[in-house]
Symmetry: C2
Subunit: 446 residues, 2 copies
């Protein structure tokens, strides 16, 4: 069977995502088995998934995915590099994925993406010197890196690629593939799961601008915030929200969001969790905070300073302004905290890491490779992939949370525990107190 | 001016409390100045105050108190011994309190209370040996202590006193008075604030059984829980709640609770904060948890073990039973965790200490004396007391949270920060996100 894997967050699933799945089927043929590696309850930008991972898996299956597996939180809540390493590692470890697709602002520039990845994977020493020079000159990390790479390769295209958000991830996927391939070669292992070559394919982004998940999240955050805080003068009524969602999301995705909004359960926005994040006991102890992953380089001190007296005060000032573009309270706070060296996503992730007690020295969560493949759902074709995987998978395949109890390594158990804990957090804020993660079974789409 | 101080939580204020204030006025004359030292947002049993401290201060002033000052959280959330030391220390430090009143199951037994206190204040070595023997025999701390004291003093009355909840506190007040008096004598300081003798008076409890604050909290917890979880089959409708409250509380206290219930803001029960308490990152790290105040002696290990997989699972099992006496989820969890050496209140306080990051080695919060007198409200007579205090007070008098910024010692600032943080927690769960503690001013009852 021809197969293609991809990484996704579907936060939320929009028409561009549906179009991407169609395009994969057009490219590889009607019978291609599509494997999606999906972020769990919290995503790479440091924000909660709006909808439950089961709901998102279900929608993906309806739109052409055949097997949805979960990217554990130890990778989903990490830097682009570790996110990509985790996702590629899991897709490879299935032993059934022959192709990997990714979206890029430069779909015709796959060669340049690969060159940049190759160059970065070699980790040439002068690269790091040049990046450091750039940072000393006052540039951020991403800009310093793109300048340094383009300067050393002499290819201006690399600069453009390394400054476009989706292409940055594309480069990380290619880099992770190269590194993991080398490791397999070096270690001399030749098991079925990892020995084959995986081909990549770059896909265009569809109407990226208007279908941006970020924009949808902002609209829904406002709708939710308005309901909870009874803010007058905000722009969106529920009907307007529905109109906006219908124009951007697929029908089932829009319906799922509206249902959750109407029922007041099953949906989480970062504004809903903001107070609890900032009330974390870690912000009362700067020394403990400095040991949390991502809090280094002065961020711990800055946050403790600002949250010192009344941690919720930062969510209060000016929250009643009418300009919705700038004034969601937590979003505004994060922007105020962000700097060149600590962009907003890094600040968000570090704050979530405090809530989840992810320490910098936690090898299992911050350094180890993926340790298991958690299945969220599958179609009839996906079931065939799963039965192949019984022979090909290089990692234990978990069909439910309770399967994690049989994991053998300490590292695997720690990663699985973080998944459970993050899900408990998510369920709490989604008002799903009656939902037991141990009773979740994989979704089967006939 | 004749003056009398007392310690209270008013959680909530009931008719017995009103009667107690009347009795003090009957005892000392119409013009007595009554000073109440009131617990802030979290109370000694390890539970949140149902109503805001300002609301409770206001009600106390309406019923005869003249000056309400706050017992800082560093004492309000501590063992009976430290609670009493803090309260007595603050009342003495005003320099205006000549008498201290306390309630007891044995109001005619003040002499025996004083004897027991005197005996305990001397800390005789054989007492500790005997207490340890009792614990080794399988008795709890309180029972071992009452047996040991009665055995050594030969007075069976002491045993009864040391096993009755209000009298245990009464003994602690008398003990704290004796210890602090000795310290003042030993140090040779003779300032106006602390040199005078304070007389004590034991008051009867009024209809203790039916007016129990615990029973009221349970009724309100159920009403609130039923609203939030939409539990069918529970016993109380809002009307029934009102009937119950009206029969036990003063009219203004019942009205304040009903108003908060109806508006859905301004009221906190422990069931409302339970999920957030159990989602604290400390429960993911047993070594860090063992350093939290009150988590020693195996409690940290036991809690981490139970909360390991899905921390909210403990709130889930059997929550739909109809027997309201036993089945509020957090209450049930605490009962399951409680043991002879860790009674329910200690477990509750230790869990709150994790949420607030109160470490065992935090000298300011766990060992130091009170450092300031925060004024919550006063009457015309209370204003006169305050003007005396300008000359007599041994500690800085704070009229608002921002006054704490001028506190000079690190210990004072740490205690004040904990007060602010606990209040931010309380406000968050009371849905008072728009309330700024720095804008709270003392209540003035004309």
């Amino acid at each position: 069977m021809e197969t293609c894997g991809l990484t996704a967050e579907y936060n939320p699933f929009h028409r561009g995502h549906a179009r991407q799945l169609e395009l994969i089927r057009e490219t590889f043929g009607r019978d291609v088995g599509i494997v999606v590696c999906l972020s769990g309850p919290f995503c790479q930008h440091g924000v909660p998934a709006m909808l439950d991972k089961g709901e998102r898996a279900n929608i993906a299956l309806s739109h052409g995915a055949d097997l949805v597996i979960e990217l554990p939180q130890a990778f989903a809540l990490a830097s682009a590099e570790r996110f990509a390493e985790g996702a590629i590692g899991i897709l490879r470890s299935t032993g059934v994925v022959r192709h990997i697709a990714y979206g890029s602002e430069y779909p015709e520039g796959r060669n340049a993406i690969c060159e940049a990845a190759e160059f970065l994977a070699d980790e040439p020493e002068e690269l790091y010197d040049n990046i450091l020079d750039g940072i000393r000159d006052g540039k951020g990390f991403a800009a310093s890196r793109s300048d340094a790479v383009a300067g050393l390769t002499g290819n201006a295209r690399h600069k453009a690629i390394l400054e476009a958000p989706n292409s940055i991830l594309a480069v990380e996927y290619e880099k992770a593939l190269r590194k993991q391939r080398r490791e397999t070669e070096d270690s001399g292992t030749d098991d079925n799961a990892t020995s084959h070559e995986i081909e990549t394919i770059a896909l265009p982004l569809f109407d990226k601008q208007i279908q941006s998940s970020t924009a949808v999240r902002r609209v829904v955050s406002w709708a939710k915030y308005r309901t909870s805080e009874d803010v007058s003068g905000s722009t969106y009524s529920l009907l307007e929200v529905f109109r906006h969602l219908s124009s951007v999301l697929t029908h089932d995705s829009a319906a799922a969001v509206m249902k959750a909004l109407a029922e007041g359960r099953g949906l989480v926005t970062e504004e809903m969790i903001a107070s609890s994040l900032l009330l974390s006991p870690h912000f009362r102890d700067v020394e403990a905070l400095k040991e949390i992953n991502g809090m280094q380089g002065g961020l711990a001190e800055r946050l403790c300073g600002v949250l010192r007296d009344d941690p919720l005060n930062v969510l209060r000032h000016g929250e009643r302004t009418h300009d919705q573009e700038i004034s969601l309270p937590y979003d505004r706070f994060i922007r105020e905290m962000a700097t060149r060296t600590h962009p907003a996503s890094r600040v968000r992730r570090a704050i979530l890491a405090s809530a989840f007690n992810i320490r910098n020295d936690d090898t299992a969560l911050c350094h180890d490779d993926p340790q298991y493949i958690r299945v969220l759902g599958f179609t009839r074709r996906g079931r065939r992939l799963l039965s192949f995987m019984r022979h090909t998978a290089a990692l234990p395949v978990l069909m439910s949370a309770s399967d994690a109890r049989s994991l053998e390594t300490e590292s695997a158990r720690r990663q699985a525990k973080l998944d459970l804990y993050a899900q408990a957090w998510w369920n709490h804020f989604a008002s799903l107190h009656d939902v037991d993660e141990f009773k979740r079974s994989a979704i089967i789409l006939k």
